[in-house]
């Protein structure tokens, strides 16, 4: 059994990312959602209908890219897009529109057999955008793309959602997923292990990284505000997501506290969350993430100001 107990709902206007190790069942989940595979049990609805039924056929409303690009080698890129447009019962002009969207240019008039793997991926992504669809289902859309095309594809996904569209994607590009997705689902062994906004997943949720010239001064300033913070590899880490934290200070509060103490950070950013969340899911083989000191450590060698340390006792 590839999927077991998967309960997933993607709402209109969301950019939902499925992440997880190879073999977690992400692609299978997308195939089931699209009606390419039939689920042995349970219920699947795509745009409110059974994806495999004739009534559920929605060629113009759903664009997809599943696994490796599937292209006819003797057609040019533009002809292939035209084929998709006609198959999807969309206007022929859609082919030209997506050629422009992805900047395929004259490349679109060459046979797809001459394309590099990256260009094949770009063309397959362009094919998914023909319609234009309401829902995009994309399986690792940026794999193999050069940085320019990767950014362009990511921008297009953002634009799609901004215009009211919906995206369901699977990806191993955790930084992209963290930046783009409104919600992320972590999959492992066919199950949805964790789900939520990317900044709220995993052990690093709500954590900030501050790079300053004088870490001790920064620590003192932050502890004065009763923020939980500690040093790690020359950076100051500020925990804002712990359950015992009263309120959830954001980056601006940290910046203001530091500025008030005359400490000006050269860099202040949220810690990447998905990487640690992903590592947690994938059997704990990754190195342990930085963590706040335990009560015992706090008592033996207090990294906290007394008022904060008091809170642990």
């Amino acid at each position: 059994m590839v999927l077991a107990g998967l309960d997933l709902r993607v709402d209109e206007g969301e950019l939902y990312g499925l992440i997880g190790p190879n073999g977690a069942g992400k692609t299978t989940a997308l195939r089931v959602a699209l009606g390419l595979l039939r689920a042995d049990a349970g219920q699947v609805r795509l745009l409110g209908r059974d994806p495999r039924s004739a009534a559920g056929a929605r060629p113009r409303r759903v664009g997809s890219l599943i696994e490796t690009p599937a292209l006819s080698p003797r057609l040019t890129g533009r002809e292939y897009l035209l084929l998709i447009a006609r198959w999807a019962q969309a206007p022929d002009a859609e082919a030209d529109r997506v050629v422009g969207l992805l900047g395929l240019g004259r490349m679109a008039d060459r046979p797809t057999a001459t394309y590099s793997s990256g260009m094949r991926q770009v063309l397959a992504t362009a094919a998914a955008l023909v319609g234009p669809p309401d829902l995009l289902v994309l399986d690792e859309p940026t794999v193999g793309l050069d940085p320019g095309h990767r950014r362009r594809v990511n921008d297009l996904l953002g634009d799609h959602v901004a215009r009211g569209g919906t995206v369901l994607l699977s990806s191993h590009q955790l930084d992209d997923a963290e930046r783009l997705c409104t919600r992320v689902g972590l999959m492992a062994a066919g199950r949805l292990v964790e789900e939520g906004p990317p900044t709220e997943l995993g052990p690093a949720a709500g954590r900030f990284e501050v790079t300053v010239g004088d870490p001790e001064a920064a620590l003192a300033a932050l502890r004065a505000l009763r923020l939980i913070c500690w040093r790690d590899n020359g950076k100051v880490l500020v925990e804002t997501g712990a359950a015992f934290q009263v309120g959830r200070p954001d980056g601006s509060l940290i910046a203001r506290a530091l500025a008030a103490a005359g400490v000006y950070p050269s860099d202040l950013r949220r810690s990447p969350t998905l990487e640690l969340a992903y590592a947690e899911v994938t059997s704990g083989l990754a190195p342990d993430p930085p963590r706040p000191p335990t009560d015992r450590e706090a008592r033996l060698e207090p990294p906290f100001d007394p008022p904060v340390a008091e809170a642990f006792r």
Partner: protein, 270 residues
Amino acid sequence: MRRQRVAGAAAVGAPRHRAERRSRPFAGAVGLRARELARRPVVLAAFLVQAMALAGAELLGAVTAEGLGGAGDDLVLGGLRVLAVPGGLVFGVLVAAVVGSEFGWATERALLARDPRRLRFAGYQLAVAAVLALAWWAAQSLLAVTVAALLQAGGGIVAGAAWNAPAHHAALAAALAATLVYGLLGAACALILRGALAGVVALLAYALLGELVLAPQWAPAAGWTVYAAAARLAGQGTIPVARAGLVVTLAFVLALGGCLALYARRQVSD
């Protein structure tokens, strides 16, 4: 200029669907696929090989003065009979290869992900095969008739039948029937077995081993093969014409129904 305007409109997210739309998008998709087939070396090679075999057979028939396909000096009729069988079988192999290639390129996945109706996809493949069949039949029969007429005129061969004799019409119709039935069998093999090589092997196993080797060994089956039926419709053999028509019709219906019924349950896991 037109393209720039289209791209610009998309960038600001404007018109959701443009006014212009193809009235027959399915036919348009079939047309594009036909264009793609015309560029494929395997298709061109099959057309050329069949044309050369046909012209060569007619030439041999004229030179040896033994006629062709049991039609005596009527090279036109002989050529059309060769086009029916084994020409129909050659076409079936070609169709199995071209339909099966959709699975090798995974274009089946891309199209079914857009529209998961299996029967629509199978219908698309069969429509492409039908277009190819008509092109094959038209080109090869024109060649068969032209080469035969030239050989007869050049060699002073008196055929004894006019070019538009009923026997010629029957052979022409038999060639079309054989092309369509073997083409459908080839497409069915490729759709059910999901691959070009598997489709070709299955069709050859059925036609060469089943129809041409095993069936003649067993009298009750000998007159019930597509090969024998197509040959009879073209004017060769001794089985009743009604039975030949029944066999061809049954083969067509069974291949069509079988392939649609089996493909309707297709799970796209590759």
